[in-house]
Symmetry: C2
């Protein structure tokens, strides 16, 4: 193809597409420049004066390199990769560094590969990072396990672009054999290793970095960010649905250090993407927070391309792939046209590709396996009257542990009028019949039960309720719909549910459909008393994440994260 | 090794070497920071407070990443790779991107590989770029030819890190088949392609870049540099023996664009390296010209590592290779200690490695092959009295063409008292007996002959003189010493010569010895009238470079570069 590019660049041959009268971001010099942008096949061949078979008069609009999300779990959108692509591509995101950690915990390596295979049917370029920590802890029952040996085998495959965020940082710092094996395997293949190192600093950070880890997106505040940058990490500012630090940490970005910043979304729901946007919204937020617009754009384009070795991506220049996002200005970042590999793939917020038909291989179907569930299984028989309860605070995934005093009746706790709910985690992958039981404070719901099969990181079935019968009903509903979210209203005797038919964590529905169904079920949960500051479903999804303090519930029992050991529900 | 690095970083295991009380360049944030620098094996494992088996108290000295020369022809030093390493490593240069274009023109692919094999015996890391344009033109006789097919085969070898500067830019712009074949072969292997594009701009530059070329070191002035940066090229500021633009172009470097600047030496003689320095001198010059010191350092370290994909090189940070240059300050850049892969390899300007024994394979030995040369062969029989002469201007490799009027005698031009000299190029690789004859103005020598076997790019034997006998004598001397430089003083009947026994272009002598011998022969040439503003030998070395205007002499005859065709010496 080089011959064609050269011929088009010198105008011996007509270009395929020319964006006339454009302004464009020169991310190498941090300037806006003017010119026509000439495209031949999949690449930009020149900037200057050009004619093309197809011409778009941009009339001074601004052409940016297509956006790169430096770290995302597509599953967190709750959409299929096709559905995800259909809402992020029109926002200008054309490449994502995706860690399919959630679906891999459910379905193993086939789940990971499914994400890329499904995305391949869309213009979204998915660079797949092999999940490094499946399961998150050895204490729970996940759908799959990737051992050091599995990582050694898989990281050599072309399917995997690098090793996903190494969340188990204590293992790296300890020099744990399995952790080292995984990292060495990635390095042997010359593949990048993403990091996850909240609050790590000093020698512990040095040790973690000696695993050859290049990024962190769990970074907050000037001090932490500067130390990580200075030690060679690329720092990704995050613009997820819950974790968002661009507004606060945008001020740390300056002329001298901005080349090492990235932008990522990590976990962002379909509803937020549909309502506010994706990387475009991150850019808007960054500029509103005072980040120089071209610097912000560079973070979301060239920097990510350099960090991950995405050759000829991330800039508007000859021989670069024609991945472009056209915006009206550098304040609102309203994306009007999106090109991927030279093709117009979205216009005025609408995808120009068909994402309706979904690729759903057998490995991600029918993943919810529980036996017959009866109300009695939710009985909590205490030895005395004092028990440990998990306390939930709105806006945080860190929980507390509180000792509560509560009566019992017929071999079960009596939580009526207690502001305390029952929490249950039912193993749903392997029919072990495991059920972990606990108590929850701070959620604020009554009159039935709420449940979901999205529960980090093993994604077992998590149910909260104030009576055993309602909880059993929700469990059966979730099993019947193949996983998803459900709420049962005892007074109305009404069950509302949203199927997440892909691995029990993602929906094959169209984004608008999923968003509408979610709104309905969320609304009911709030009507039933969930505190306004608490996310009715997402907050629950973190109640079994045993790597975030303090008290969590696994399918195998109540877990004290600080002691990294199980703990008895009886407080005495 | 990861386990050992981690253990050392967290101080579970003692570090091998610790640089105590250091200041160090944080090239990620453009700051000087303080701390101990801990080394385990070949890598830095941490910055902070550390103890080591060996400790150096730096007492506030500044630790920089080891310097990377982004583009160099080692042959231009006239030293063997070992000799070159012995003088640049103590100056802080630990990695070079080397294009062995000269030795390859003489000895072919074996010559190229020799450079890396010889350097391997030293701590200098040589990343070998496969010469892309051998020979420079199809009109002359070189020692070797690398066809598109050869490039396809060789670029796939691990020995070659990338494709060397693509000097034949007209061929790229034309979309010439062989040029495209070479570039496509490099891209197919994912290897970098260096550029060489003096004054190219606009669509011609776009077309050149569509060859997938990433750098340029032939760049001068704000306008040209900015266009090249904006189109994605890394621009190398050059600090060679003749071409030097850091002082003038340092002011183009600013906060927004400096990440895309590199520093290179291209062609720098042993004498300049010994007297002034190497990249250290470039940094000194840059800072004196007003470039921010940490920006200058970043250009010579991290930027080059990023440009060429040198993983974990170019910074002082955990897991980076311990390639370090310790300097007293950021003004004089006086290098006191140099570490390569964690080992102290030079101290106070002296190498701590043995470079005395040279690796000289047969392929680079005995490369000067000419038959019996008699004085008569230098006769120039004109048809009339008017002839074309090459005019030489001090400090420039661009020549002119002047028509001169001169008498003849016995079938030879009579140049006595004419300020005109005879110029001859004798093919010296393949015993073809080719001899190109011409006239030279502007050199300013009389009383004998000067000759050398360094003549870009084919490195035939080039002789200048004012009588045929002296010229023949010099030719025979050069053949006898296996190539080199020689001057014959007719009045004293004295021959001075410096052997360049490696390919006729490099010396196996120690640097000091070569510098002293060169000084002697240069002194004699100036005594014999070479104009002070003209480099007595190097200026001649460009008289046969048929890719630089205007009139040049090849072994095959007089060549008009602008017409890109041979031309008759007779002016009428």
């Amino acid at each position: 193809m080089i011959k064609e590019y050269i011929d088009a660049a010198i105008s011996r041959r007509q270009c395929d597409t020319v964006l006339k009268n454009a302004r464009y971001a020169d991310v190498f010099c941090g300037k806006l420049r003017k010119g026509d942008i000439a495209i031949c096949g999949d690449r930009i061949v020149g900037v200057g004066k050009y004619r093309g078979k197809v011409e778009y008069d941009l009339n001074g609009k601004i052409v940016l390199p297509g956006f790169i999300d430096a770290h995302v779990h597509i599953e967190s959108s709750k959409l299929s990769p096709e559905g995800f692509a259909s809402i992020v591509v029109p926002r200008g995101t054309v490449t994502v560094i995706a860690d399919p950690h959630e679906i891999t915990n459910v379905c193993g390596e086939e789940g990971a590969k499914y994400v890329a295979a499904a995305a391949e049917r869309t213009p979204l370029e998915v660079k797949l990072m092999l999940p490094s920590c499946v399961p998150a802890t050895p204490f729970e029952t996940s759908g799959a396990t990737l051992s050091g040996g599995d990582i050694q085998r898989l990281i050599a495959e072309n399917a995997f672009y690098g090793l996903g965020e190494f969340m188990n940082y204590p293992a790296v710092i300890k020099g744990d054999g399995e952790a080292v094996k995984k990292l060495e395997a990635a390095h042997a293949q010359g593949k990048a290793c993403d990091g996850h190192a909240p609050a790590l600093h000093g020698k512990a950070l040095n040790a973690y970095l000696c695993g050859g880890i290049i990024t962190d997106h769990e970074c907050e505040g000037k001090k932490e960010i500067e130390e990580k940058l200075s030690k060679g990490m690329y720092v990704a500012l995050r613009h997820g649905s819950t974790a968002r630090n661009i507004q606060a940490d945008g001020k740390v970005v300056n002329a001298k250090n901005y080349r090492r910043f990235l932008i990522c979304t990590d976990d962002r729901h379909a509803s937020d993407i549909c309502e506010y946007g994706h990387i475009d919204d991150a850019l808007r937020t960054a500029v509103a927070a005072g980040v120089d617009p071209l610097r912000a754009v560079t973070m979301a384009t060239l920097n990510a391309a350099e960090c991950y070795g995405l050759k000829w991506r991330g800039a508007v220049a000859p021989f670069y792939f024609a991945d472009l996002a056209v915006v009206d200005d550098l304040e609102d970042f309203c994306v009007t046209h999106v090109f991927k590999n030279g093709k117009l793939v979205a216009e005025r917020g609408k995808p120009l590709f068909d994402a309706a038909e979904k690729y759903i291989p057998d490995c991600v179907k029918d993943t919810v396996h529980i036996g017959t569930v009866t109300a009695d299984e939710f009985k909590i028989a205490l030895k005395g009257t004092r028990a440990k309860a998990i306390t939930l605070t709105g806006g945080s995934i860190v929980t507390g542990c509180e000792t509560v005093e509560l009566p019992s009746l017929n071999g079960d706790v009596n939580i009526a009028d207690m502001q305390i709910l029952k929490l249950a985690v039912l193993e749903r992958h392997k029919l072990t019949g495991n059920i972990g039981l606990g108590l929850l404070k701070g959620y604020g719901f009554h009159g039935g039960a709420v449940g979901l099969t999205v529960a980090h990181d093993s994604h077992n079935m998590l149910i909260v309720g104030d009576d055993n019968r309602s909880m059993a009903k929700v469990a059966r509903e979730l099993a019947q719909i193949g996983g998803g979210m459900a709420v049962y209203d005892r007074k109305q005797d009404e069950m509302l549910s949203v199927p997440l038919d892909i691995g029990g964590i993602m929906s094959s529905a169209e984004p608008a459909e999923l968003v509408a169904a979610s709104e309905k079920i969320y609304a009911r949960a709030y009507v039933m008393g969930v505190k306004p500051e608490v996310d009715a479903f997402l907050s629950l999804a973190f109640m079994s994440l045993a790597v975030v303090p303090r008290l969590k519930l696994l399918d195998t029992g109540l877990f004290d994260v600080e002691k990294f050991a199980f703990t008895d529900i009886n407080a005495d």
